[in-house]
């Protein structure tokens, strides 16, 4: 593999890792390079990304974690991008709603566990839209608030019952042969 290919793969890896970013250790292990080599390649990549004419994001190093990050000077556009999506619900909002619908009554901590990201702002936003509401307190230390979906939620998604949502099992399952046999011919 020539140098440009290695740099391309590193670029792709960093792209895929998104917010999480990658360490030199991870890069070197995927590409089977020494840490020293990996560091040299990453340094070179930083230079290349930095020199681009069209630059929507750059390669940064936060405490040994490398990741792509957008430029501060374009912040207002990204802000606007989020705002623009307010007349629809963002994917993050929909995801949070779906988790609440499937798990209600559910605490914020549990939602965050499932999503893998903090949801504080999101929950406030959804509550402001009356799509979710507090439905009680969990009987555990700290008495955390339990959330559930509202009639407005049912209305917004034209649901008469939460049973109309596909089963979680169906959403996760693969289309493996085995399963097809069990379901295909069992009709009403």
């Amino acid at each position: 593999m020539d140098k440009n290919e290695i740099l391309s793969v590193i670029e792709g890896m960093l792209f895929l890792s998104g917010d999480e970013g990658l360490t030199i250790k991870q890069i070197s292990s995927v590409l089977k390079l020494s840490k020293k080599e990996a560091t040299q390649y990453v340094d070179e990549l930083i230079q290349i990304e930095n020199d681009k004419t069209i630059k929507g994001f750059e390669l940064v190093n936060f405490g040994g974690v490398y990741k792509f990050a957008t430029l501060a000077k374009h912040h207002e556009y990204y802000q606007r991008m989020i705002e623009q999506s307010e007349n629809t619900l963002s994917n993050a909002a929909l995801e949070t709603l779906a988790i609440i619908a499937y798990n209600q009554p559910v605490t914020r901590v549990r939602i965050e566990e499932i999503r893998g990201v903090g949801c504080d702002a999101m929950i406030r936003k959804l509550a402001a839209k009356a799509l979710i509401k507090e439905v009680g307190r969990e009987d555990t230390p700290g008495k955390p608030i339990l959330y559930g979906v509202t009639d407005e939620f049912m209305d917004a998604f034209s649901l008469t019952s939460l049973d109309e949502l596909p089963e979680l099992k169906e959403m996760k399952e693969d289309f493996d042969q085995e399963d097809i046999f069990n379901t295909k011919y069992t009709e009403e």
């Binding site: 792209f15 895929l16 890792s17 998104g18 917010d19 999480e20 970013g21 990658l22 360490t23 991870q26 405490g63 040994g64 974690v65 957008t70 990204y78 802000q79 989020i82 705002e83 307010e86 007349n87 629809t88 619900l89 963002s90 994917n91 993050a92 929909l94 995801e95 709603l97 779906a98 988790i99 619908a101 499937y102 499932i114 999503r115 893998g116 990201v117 903090g118 702002a121 999101m122 406030r124 936003k125 402001a128 839209k129 009356a130 799509l131 407005e152 917004a156 998604f157 034209s158 649901l159 109309e164 949502l165 596909p166 959403m171 996760k172 042969q177 046999f181 011919y185 069992t186 009709e187």
Partner: protein
């Protein structure tokens, strides 16, 4: 044995029929109902009786074929008469087979597109919840259940994407004692060397950072390690106290 074969290989009675027609090298359009019916019934015969419940579609087709075959044994005149008024069931079946085959024919290409897509990857959207400032009470009016399902599917995909990285970034709860021992071990390997403080922070998790930092303080406090810095804003080094 044959039952398994049938189910695995065929997507239904039409699929099985197409297979038999191909096997007999027959013209789809001049389908010989009697031959095909016998073949079809031979397949059905091999099926496990216990599974017949799930085979209803195959059996319905078998019944239709038998009916067709018997009709064709009737005097031709009568068939002709019926022809003027209603479609010959044989032609109806042929039509169905032709239509079904149309989709069957593109399936490989279709599948290939799907498989090709598996080789390219996208990333999860950046975490931008922090930008969410909107507190309007408006609920968008164009929502559908599909939106929820899609969001969940994306989340499952995202989780699959992050899982291996997360597992590498050992989430194990490590105690200060354990981490201190690891650091001692580290200095046993790097004997008499000055080690950059940041080299100890190899796992990029907050908890690991905190535990490592506290462990270093403990070790310094116990007089096992010394902190050195050559000047303001220079790198911070650690070394074993000898």
């Amino acid at each position: 044995m044959a039952y398994e074969v049938v189910l695995e290989d065929f997507q239904g009675p039409l699929d099985l029929l197409l297979h038999l027609i191909k096997e007999k090298e027959m013209d789809l359009e001049t389908l010989e109902v009697s031959v095909i019916t016998d073949q079809y019934l031979a397949y059905i015969d091999q099926m496990d009786a216990q599974q017949l419940e799930t085979m209803s579609e195959y059996l319905v087709m078998a019944a239709q074929l038998i009916e067709m075959k018997s009709k064709m044994l009737l005097p031709a005149q009568k068939v002709e008469l019926e022809d003027d008024y209603q479609e010959d069931p044989r032609e109806q079946l042929i039509k169905r087979l032709i239509e079904y085959k149309k989709y069957k024919d593109v399936l490989d290409e279709f599948k290939e597109k799907y498989e090709q897509r598996q080789y390219i990857h996208t990333k999860a959207p950046a975490f931008m919840d922090e930008y969410v400032i909107d507190t309007t009470e408006m609920i968008p009016d164009n929502l559908e259940v599909y939106d929820l399902i899609r969001a969940m599917q994306k989340m499952f995909q995202r989780k699959a994407l992050l899982a291996p990285l997360e597992s590498k970034i050992a989430r194990v709860e490590i105690s200060i004692d354990e981490r201190s021992d690891q650091i001692r071990q580290y200095f046993r390997i790097h004997k008499n060397q000055r080690v950059k403080l940041e080299d100890l922070f190899e796992e990029p998790t907050k908890i690991f950072f905190v535990i490592t930092f506290l462990s270093v303080l403990v070790l310094v406090n116990k007089n096992e390690l010394v902190i050195e810095q050559d000047g303001n804003f220079e790198d911070i080094y650690l070394k074993e106290r000898v």
